[in-house]
């Protein structure tokens, strides 16, 4: 189990080390970002707070979430369903929806 936990962290750490990702595409309005992000809560709970067996999102930073989603998208990080979801968004959209979720009232 230990190795299972540690391995996926490496690419993320690398992504974080690069610093802040470029700002979300200016053409994505906050409401458009909300329209994408609100879908996440059906599985990850209200505002990303999961009451059950799904991972929560509400304590992830925008950079963190962006890095994860991009890794799911490329398949660099294996997943059950997240890869199938992440492929539905451009990188700019991923950044915008991650900003939105991370910015919700804690």
């Amino acid at each position: 189990m230990k190795s299972k936990l540690l391995l996926p962290l490496l690419p993320l750490t690398a992504a974080l080390a690069l610093g802040a990702a470029p700002a979300a595409g200016a053409e994505i309005s906050p409401t458009a970002a909300a329209n994408m992000a609100n879908n996440c809560f059906a599985c990850h709970g209200p505002d990303g707070r999961s009451p059950g067996t799904m991972p929560s999102l509400h304590q992830l930073t925008a950079q963190n979430m962006t890095a994860l989603l991009k890794q799911f998208k490329t398949g660099e990080r294996p997943s059950t369903v997240m890869g199938r979801h992440a492929k539905g968004y451009s990188d700019a959209e991923i950044e915008a929806l991650a900003e939105y979720i991370a910015g919700l009232q804690k």
Partner: protein, 429 residues
Amino acid sequence: MSRINRRDFMRLVGGAGAASALGVLGHVPVARGKSGGQVVVIGGGFGGATCAKYLRKADPGIAVTLVERDPRFITCPFSNLVLGGLRTMDSITHGYDALRTRHGVNVVKDEVTAIDPVGKKVTLKSGKTLKYDRLVVSPGIDFKWGAIKGYDPKAAQVMPHAWKAGPQTVLLRKQLEAMKDGGTFILATPPNPFRCPPGPYERVSMVAHYLKASKPKSKILILDNNDKFSKQGLFQKGWEELYPGMVEWVAGSKGGVVKAVDTKTMIVKGELDDHKGAVVNIIPAQTAGQLAIKAGLTNETGWCPVDPKTFESTIHPGVHVIGDSSIAGELPKSGFAANSEAKICANAIVAMFRGDSVADASYVNTCYSLLAPDYGISVAAVYRVTDKGITSVEGAGGVSPADASRGFRQDEAKYAVGWYQSITADIWA
């Protein structure tokens, strides 16, 4: 390598928590100030309850009244798990207290008898009238009784549909419990489109799970109206692995279409053969909810045409139809889709009240199905609005891999339960 799990997330959070202030600074709230506006929402299910809550979240200046006939809502999702003996009815029942107290929704237990889209008001059974600036209608489905000869509401007391969760679910479960070992459970599927495309096959799986443990000589016969079904390869592979020899599937073109039933002899008449069942589950052909039909919101298909970006009726302006009753392009009729549509609809209504342009819509559907308590599969898609309406994004989505390990199926079973916990909290908590 590993799929990410909850503990991965906790570790990530622990390591990067200090950076969270950036996220807060970057946040631009969607709702600014008060726009006012009166919205009446009809129906407190996956569509209606979500829309009511998200309207209030996006703009607390909007007054939202939710009209719901029942004091509590029993979900169709996970009602198959009740049939399989994995869940109680209580565990799939949700109340409206949080919508009232936490989100400031005026929940009215009543029934809408008429909609006046010109006068912008609805009439309730109690005699009251509610005025609205915008109306959201989310009445779910109703059945086309009579499409199968002999199948009417009375026959459904003998051969349940159990396609609206509640007493019908309990009835079917009791019949399965009373069934003798060696009996045949017959499930007949409806023509497309219908609520929850993978639902009949998850039901078969859950019944098989129960029968395998309690009545292992029993058989399951699926009389299918169609020639293919949702997640077919995954379901059939799973049945072979988990319930070998128990499930027989008859395609529509091979005699699966049901023409008539006889509740006295428990005979189901197909185009080619008659079948006798110990327990018979007929899932009838479906239409939009009666209220939508009565209000003139349906077209010749029996469903409600809507604008793909706002879910505003293309027949009656000012009235939005969400959930199973709507014609939502490639989105299926599912609780997940209704939840997704409701949120887009809510933000569109907020924008319309403010005179803003309506933002681009983005929809998601994910349907988990349980084949056994530790065996789950899924189908997912992301949807956008194109000139062809609501269309799934190419290259994204799809079903669980055919060659996945049992560990993968176990994870998806775990996530199926997590999904239920999350979406019901997203709606009713």
